[in-house]
């Protein structure tokens, strides 16, 4: 009887399983396969001709004498991507935590409204938002113009097409992903624990550092992951706000499938990124697995 119900229930998830299984697993396996093939001369791959060139050329290149020498170009792009993503995550955290904390201290009716406000940027297409930032940041743009109008001679803001512009744009795009999980953990936080901290002699600063922050840590970690990982894969923002000059991983992968006509390398880069993300996720789950549940 129980088995029958269980087997019937399986049909509830079957469509989703088939859909995800097919459209995620199959392309992923296909790309894994592609990454281990020889590149075709005009794009594509030579099916059936295996080669580890993609993974080798991630770190090495062949000089004129056909010797392998270390080539740090791709590593630099990876490092830059991680650096930019980390910077963005820090910005988002610095902006997001106070915002989430403020919202969590508001009365219930107001909280819902404020959370609604946080999600408003999602309503606009990401391309449109990035073009809007270009208009804001460019020399002679809205910000530059306003500063000059106020008598602050900028001589051109020179922010657009720099890593800073990319980070500003990414922070803006992913800020809600930081605010929402932190808010969720702060909202669950039992206010009486803060009172207990005060009661035991902790001032506001120490109540924050000893009670609120540790209890919001899972939310902070979740928010950081939700910002950091999509940042690593960001394509549109570095393309537009970085002007293509500051390539990030996604742009590099894109160019391998496009202009560079090196599909195996593009696929290989994708798997290197996936591996790095998985490793950081494992570190995260290992770190927070042992965290006790909030008291009932």
């Amino acid at each position: 009887m129980g088995n029958l119900i269980r087997s019937k229930r399986f049909w509830l998830v079957a469509p989703a399983v088939v859909y995800i299984g097919f459209f995620m697993a199959v392309p992923l396996l296909q790309m894994a396969y592609v990454s281990m093939l020889e590149r075709g001369d005009y794009g594509g791959v030579n099916w059936g001709v295996f080669s580890m060139d993609a993974y080798i050329s991630f770190i090495f290149e062949r000089d004129l004498m056909d010797n392998l020498v270390v080539n740090t170009d791709y590593l630099e792009i990876f490092a830059r991507s991680f650096g930019l993503s980390a910077m963005t995550t820090v910005f988002a955290l610095l902006l997001g935590f106070p915002t989430a904390f403020y919202i969590s201290t508001q009365p219930q009716s107001r909280r819902n409204f404020l959370i609604f406000l946080v999600t408003i940027p999602f309503w606009t297409n990401i391309l449109v938002r990035n073009y809007a930032w270009m208009l804001l940041l460019r020399n002679g743009g809205l910000i530059d113009g306003a500063l000059n109008w106020m008598g602050i001679e900028t001589g051109g803001l020179d922010v657009l097409y720099t890593p800073y512009a990319v980070s500003i744009g990414l922070t803006y795009t992913y800020l809600p992903f930081m605010v929402l999980p932190i808010y969720a953990s702060l909202e669950k936080l039992d206010h009486r624990l803060v009172e207990a901290a005060f009661d035991l002699g902790a001032d506001k600063r120490r109540a924050m550092s000893r009670v609120i922050l540790p209890l919001a840590a899972p939310g902070i970690a979740a928010g950081s992951i939700l910002v950091f990982i999509p940042c690593l894969g960001a394509y549109v923002t570095p393309e537009l706000l970085g002007g293509g000059k500051f390539m990030m991983i996604a742009n590099l992968i894109g160019s391998q499938f496009g202009a560079a006509r090196n599909w195996p390398l593009g696929a290989g880069l994708g798997f290197v990124l996936l591996a790095l993300v998985l490793i950081s996720m494992m570190v995260y789950s290992f770190k927070f697995k042992s965290l006790p549940e909030e008291s009932r």
């Binding site: 624990l193 009172e195 009661d199 035991l200 001032d203 840590a217 006790p292 008291s295």
Partner: protein, 364 residues
């Protein structure tokens, strides 16, 4: 038991403003003494928790003053008061171990690590949970969490310990155990306990003194026996234990004593000192177990008589509902067992006996 530790002077507290204004406390004054187990007892919404939170510093009084050993506390935030709280929900820090919970307050005071650890051991021993120092609160049962909350609040050696209905989440058996435990802790530590509860039995069992509160006011303060045996208000008599209420008129009972004449003509003698100035209709309260029954035809003219309407046997005692006529009713509880004389059945005509000291004239 002579030095005043906490003194509330005409303390008032209102929440909200305009049409939504709620008065939680209405000019309450009370002195709480050194080494006292003081209980604030009342139904929910009577202001007992508000008064506790005012003492703890979690709320600011709208009017009046709270003094700690003679010094005004009004503007002092909770973390600067030598007062600790055991919260109703325990509010143990879930991310810290039991030991870290206990040393939290000491650390905030700047106590050295070593000393704090020693004190934690001492506290764990005091609440008899020596082996649990390294666990986290979620691994403890409700009763154990309760003890740790106590240990945590006692560790910094506060002048006053506030307890906000700490036993309400426990089941009956555990609650009884913790009542004894709390009393023991209070005696052993010598710290003044201010306890808030809506459970009258709990209050009677543990307290040195009880303040009975209703609608933001303290109606009566006294030792448990005094509160039970000599309630001043109908609310107090009704809230603590069971009580019979009879309406009558104050008359001169002869020999300098006063008496109450009931509507039916019977007269109840009083031993209570009631001012000669007081006249007119009054309500008196009599506890059911302070009443006795005799057969109706043995009664004299002044005695209260009625008919037994219900008999309920409880084992240790039997409760009789007596119909006095004119919609008036009395409950009489008589102990069973050796020496028990009365045995009446429904429909029996009975007369009610009561000693003058069992009868209390109420203030309202």
């Amino acid at each position: 038991m002579s030095d005043v530790v906490i003194s509330a002077r005409s303390v008032g507290k209102t929440f909200g403003s305009g049409a939504d204004k709620v008065t939680a406390l209405d000019s309450v004054s009370v002195d709480i003494f050194q080494n006292e187990f003081f209980t604030m007892l009342g139904p929910s919404g009577c202001g007992k928790t508000t008064l506790l939170r005012l003492i703890g510093g979690f709320e600011q009084a709208t009017s009046g003053q709270i003094l700690l050993e003679g010094k005004a506390l009004n503007d002092l935030p909770p973390f600067k008061r030598p007062i600790n709280t055991v919260f109703q929900s325990y509010a143990l820090f879930p991310h810290l171990t039991v030991k870290q919970n206990i040393t939290f307050g000491l650390e905030m005071q700047g106590t050295s690590r070593k000393q704090a650890d020693g004190r934690a051991e001492e506290m764990l021993e005091l609440v008899r949970l020596e082996e649990y120092g390294d666990r986290v609160p979620s691994q403890l049962s409700g009763g154990q969490q309760q003890r740790i909350a106590l240990a945590r609040a006692l560790a910094p050696a506060p002048k006053v310990l506030l307890l906000d209905e700490p036993l309400s989440a426990l089941d009956l058996k555990l609650r009884k155990e913790m009542q004894v435990e709390l009393k023991r802790l209070q005696t052993e530590t010598g710290i003044t306990f201010v306890f808030v509860t809506h459970d009258q039995e709990e209050a009677l069992a543990m307290s040195d003194r009880i303040a009975v509160m209703k609608s933001g006011e303290i109606l009566q303060i006294g030792a448990p026996r005094e509160i039970y045996e000599a309630p001043t208000h109908r609310f107090v008599a009704d809230f603590i234990g069971d009580s019979n209420f009879l309406v009558g008129e104050l008359v001169d009972g002869g020999a300098g004593e006063r008496a109450v004449k009931l509507a039916g003509g019977s007269v109840i003698a009083l031993s209570q000192d009631v001012s000669d100035q007081r006249k007119g209709p009054v309500t008196v309260s009599v506890r059911p177990e302070r009443l006795g029954l005799i057969a109706g035809n043995d009664a004299n003219a002044d005695q209260l008589t009625g008919t037994v309407s219900t008999v309920i046997y409880f084992g240790t005692d039997t409760t009789y509902q007596i119909d006095l006529g004119n919609d008036a009713r009395l409950t009489v509880r008589m102990q069973n067992g050796a020496g028990a004389k009365a045995d009446f059945a429904e429909g029996d005509r009975v007369a009610i006996t009561m000693s003058p000291d069992a009868v209390r004239v109420l203030a309202d």
